[in-house]
Point group: C2
Chain length 343, copies 2
């Protein structure tokens, strides 16, 4: 039996395997500390397209194609794709994955979408509704700046609390068996904690780390309670894109609630760039940030058994150009996925 | 065992019950043919809020609150809410359902989102991951025009193929048992067919019916094949918001493929307004259109056993202001949900 662990958490009866995965990034990400680990790097950030939005679609298409190739799985074998991005009406997804003609569940959770797509993919497999699914998310620095902030041509100044949207896409082929044509699975999903919208009333879209940290704290606290574990259960507790400011807020919030995660905590946004030399301020962000870091770096550590078990928890800031301009707050959301070495 | 029926279709081992539901609409919808059936009508389309976007959030909040009340279910009993809308970054959802503090899966499938939210809700229950979930979608005429088209103040002319976005929200409480505190379930979900992105290259955002009809035809053809049924299996085959033009295209496309659905076909967009007297041209549309029609009208017919079994298939047009302005096509998507009388 699949198990409900409290209201928000789930433990599938049998693990769901991450059969394989792939990442594609832009030039800035390739120049960062994880640069050599990504599967593919664009020559420039247009990726052969005419617009930034098309470029982001191309990222999703490439990532899914590579992940399927590496897993030795054809698009026809995939029941569903769970996909999302940050653009209005998820346009990168609609145009990015349409050529595969796989039934689509579009998902949106801002930068937490990678966690949501993995959780729903795992649910559909663990529930017996699919043998194989694909989860994919993307972001693009230029399309995101256009969508949320100022035209790049303004050369707007960025405060030190601002993050830099990652240009990249990560795709994951999930399956019910540990082996596929492409070999042994990279890792397995053994639990999930689904996040709520948490709103502390913060309104600064240039400090998304602080806006999202309360949501990360809420999901983490719920997770520890539902699974009756402490932070030590995990080799790493990995948030998506809290960055420097958000990391400090998260660790403080959890300390107040009796949990010390300072040893285990890692943030994808702090791993992907060298903040000092790359001028990325608080760190990386975007739907692609946690996805490419999971595919290129985290799964590698699990595969090589440097880590045995991690909690992967992408974080999302729920804002739009309109909500910001209308003076609304920026609530956060975070979804946690437990990922372990495959065997 | 939950059953996969072909790649895109699913048959849960045990039905998932629609325990109860609720609808709230604006004044124009209340003046239409279904006007007396809706649970609540706003005095005006601001619903006591300062912006159209906040008004749309209020719609979701009200619809979920009423549906929970009618089902006799508290927010704490609900494992997940599957929710979406048409606004950029799903803002109506983020601010609409946050006060319930239910773990959230945000979903996006344009006007097909109601079908997607019901399908994923049913999957999470049939898979044993939740006892009760809520599925909710909304749209608002004024927030949608602002998001996708021209400022209302322009008084832009609308071609006859254009549809009118429904102001409204429909919420559904799903559960694993036929009975709840609020009494017997209104209906049950017994199957699903998940749609693919279908792109015929059409670019006219003022003729979304024609853009979506090929997706509806694709999902229907897949559904008939996967479940080995003919159109006669259903008392009604109900699309979301194809409107007058899209209905004609759908019936023709399916006739070419050997299926005659002209007797069974019904479109929520054609039911909700009186096109002649209400000047709504091709019909109603939006995430709220199929949701409020399902809650107020379709479930009533099933409950009264005027109909025994329907295929509810909301249709979505995948476009954004940006994709339209960049000259992209308007692909479609449609998700089918089989709904039957509860007993």
């Amino acid at each position: 039996m699949n198990q409900k662990m409290g209201r928000a958490s789930i433990k599938p009866e049998r693990p769901v395997y991450i059969l394989n995965s792939a990442s594609i990034v832009g030039t800035k990400e390739a120049e960062g500390p994880l640069g050599l680990l990504f599967d593919r790097v664009g020559e420039n950030d247009m990726f052969g397209c005419k617009t930034w939005e098309e470029a982001e679609s191309a990222l999703q298409k490439e990532a899914v194609g590579m992940a399927l190739d590496k897993a030795g799985v054809s698009p026809e074998e995939v029941s569903f794709v769970f996909a999302g991005d940050l653009l209005g009406q998820s346009m990168a997804t609609s145009f990015g994955i349409s050529s595969y003609q796989i039934p689509l569940f579009g998902v949106y959770g801002a930068c937490s979408t990678c966690g949501e797509a993995l959780a729903l993919g795992a649910i559909s497999i663990a529930g017996g509704f699919a043998d194989k699914v694909v989860s994919v998310t993307s972001s693009h620095f230029a399309s995101a700046e256009k969508e949320f902030r100022f035209p790049l041509e303004y050369g707007n100044q960025r405060p030190l609390s601002a993050s830099w949207t990652v240009t990249g896409s990560g795709a994951f082929v999930l399956g019910s068996d540990m082996f596929c044509a492409g070999g042994k699975a990279r890792a397995k999903i053994t639990g999930m904690t689904v996040g709520k919208v948490v709103d502390y009333g913060l309104k600064d879209s240039m400090n998304m780390g602080a806006c999202m940290a309360p949501a990360a704290a809420s999901t983490l606290e719920q997770h520890f309670a539902d699974f009756a574990v402490s932070p030590r259960e995990y080799d790493k507790i990995i948030t998506g894109d809290l960055g420097k400011v958000g990391q400090r807020v998260l660790i403080d919030l959890l300390r107040d609630r009796g949990y010390d995660i300072s040893e285990q905590h890692m943030d994808c946004g702090l791993e992907i760039y060298d903040g000092e030399s790359q001028d990325t301020h608080a760190g990386g962000s975007g739907c692609g940030c946690s996805a490419v870091t999971l595919s290129a770096y985290i799964l590698k550590q699990l595969q090589e058994e440097n880590w045995k078990k991690v909690l992967f928890m992408p974080t999302g800031a729920l804002l739009s150009k309109t909500s910001f301009n209308e003076g609304m707050s920026v609530p956060g959301i975070a979804h946690g996925v437990v990922i372990e070495t495959a065997s």
